[in-house]
Amino acid sequence: MSRARLSAENLPTSVRVVLVVLGLGVLLAVPDLARVTPLSFATIHKGLLFGLAAVGLNLLLRHTELVSFGHVAFFGTGAYGAAVLATYYEVSSGLVLLAGAVLAATAVALVVGYLVAGHLDIYFALLTLAFNQVLFAFVVQSSFFNSTDGLSVRVGVDRPSLLGLDQLLVSAGLDPVQAYNYVLYYLTVAILVVVVLVTWKLVNSPFGRALDAIGQDRTRARFIGIPVERYVWIAFTISGIYGGIAGGLFALLQLHVRPEPVLFAFVSGEILFMAILGGVGTLVGPIVGGVILVYLLDLARFYVTYYHALTGIVLLAVVYFLPEGILGSLPALGAAIERRRRDPGLVRNDVETVVTSVRRSVRRAVTTVRILVFGVN
């Protein structure tokens, strides 16, 4: 695996500051934007949570270069951790529920991480997938987790309390449901910012560099004295904790946890693709990828009959035309647009390039079929 060096890091500091401020501004304004536009607030919130899990997955993907295909296991464990506390122990404090989520995910990540840390490539991917499915099977068959019907995250009919902030808004005249969702959203944003900062610190520390070393050449890493398996285990657990936080928040958002959306292995694949879609080489790309993919998968169905195909085509476009992911390709894209603004003639070349590459694809396909059917070219 060789990956081009970070393109986003080549941006001048001033541009990066502007981008960060802009990003934060958009994040904070989402509830208001959703009110004046047809954007769905709940879907964006959900996308951010999956994006958070994808940030964790990207820690493994980008640095240790390990592809986890079972990351929703930790998301699900987190969600169920919160749900179990609410259902069986009548815990109503949102923060305690979240702590339970993190604890549960940490425990599972520690066990799984220990068992997979020595494996590589496709074996690592498929082992994580297997553990994911074992967990799914376990929950689906277990009456404690109420099988496919899942568990409620409410105590009685009440929503969990969010530090009393939601009550504060209610007494200020806001609708209780809306108040809860707003507070939860801003809690999510706050946690997201903290997690991104922590990750940034982590990947730029000596430990982060050691993880890079492991990803780029395991043998060499071992022979410069890095205990490879132990470090992979630690990174795996950290990345699982991110998933647990996201899952806990997801439980608070949905107020009901079912196995399919939070534990099925295919959702793990989606988390992986969120990271790639947004840009593996970037810190916040996975969050962007999370929002976009969740939006496509959840909402496009209301506008387009063939929303799967639509999502597929978007992903194809990323594979072929944005090899660094959406955020990772921004600098190159920005430069390209700038060039075209100065020289509009270039656009015609672009169209030609796309047309030729499509035509070449079609010609390849036709030739292949002809050989297949008639036996000759």
């Binding site: 520390s205 000596p206 430990f207 070393a213 410069i224 205990p227 490879v228």
Partner: protein, 258 residues
Amino acid sequence: MLEARNLRKTFGELRATDDVSLQFGTTDGEMVFIVGPNGAGKTTLVNLLTGLLTPDQGSVVVHQDDGDGSTVEREITGLAPEKRVDAGLVRSFQIVHVFEEMTVRENLRVAVLSERGETLNVLSFDDGHDGVERTVDDLLAQFRLEDVADEVADTLPHGDRKLLDVAMSFGLEPTYLLLDEPTAGVATREKEYVIETIAEASDADDVTTVTIEHDMDIVKSYADRLVVLHEGRVFREGDPSLLETDGELRRVLLGVDE
């Protein structure tokens, strides 16, 4: 002193290492060269010493200074490679193993960070350790890599990649450095340069080097001691002048004895 005691390793029918006992570093900064025809078990021996392979029989022992002048024996036979690094045992590979997507400086930095036991540190920045940066600068100078310090490793010419590989090993402050064909694949005119740089560094830091080498001219000019392996066994051990005087040895090395 690093010692191999009756090491034995078989792969199926093949006795790759057969009852090998050797001592390295009997004098400070000794340069030992291991030579032998293909399949003589040179790389296997290095793999056994550094922990990539575990022997079927025998042991690997280091004699360490216990601080008050006397030495203690420490057996490291079952120790993982990364633990052997702590015992001062470092190696390079026949094929260059560097961190391809890092710059030369970053490669050296991560090695030095590891040597200082800083790799679990998450509170500092990787380039925020002044002591480490100084050591990295010294290594860059010592291995004449300053000009390419900020180049990404996989874009370097082969000779520089070899030097980077060896420089990383020196960054780990080894007592014993095992080099598997450091000049393999290096252009002839650069070979001398690579081995000379290694010799200088080894001399400066009193590092015992054990080098597998095929180029007999290099062996003759640089070896303090020669070890000849043949069919997994120690065939000769002694002064490099054996290469001139021992007819049977010459036949083995030229591969005309069968």
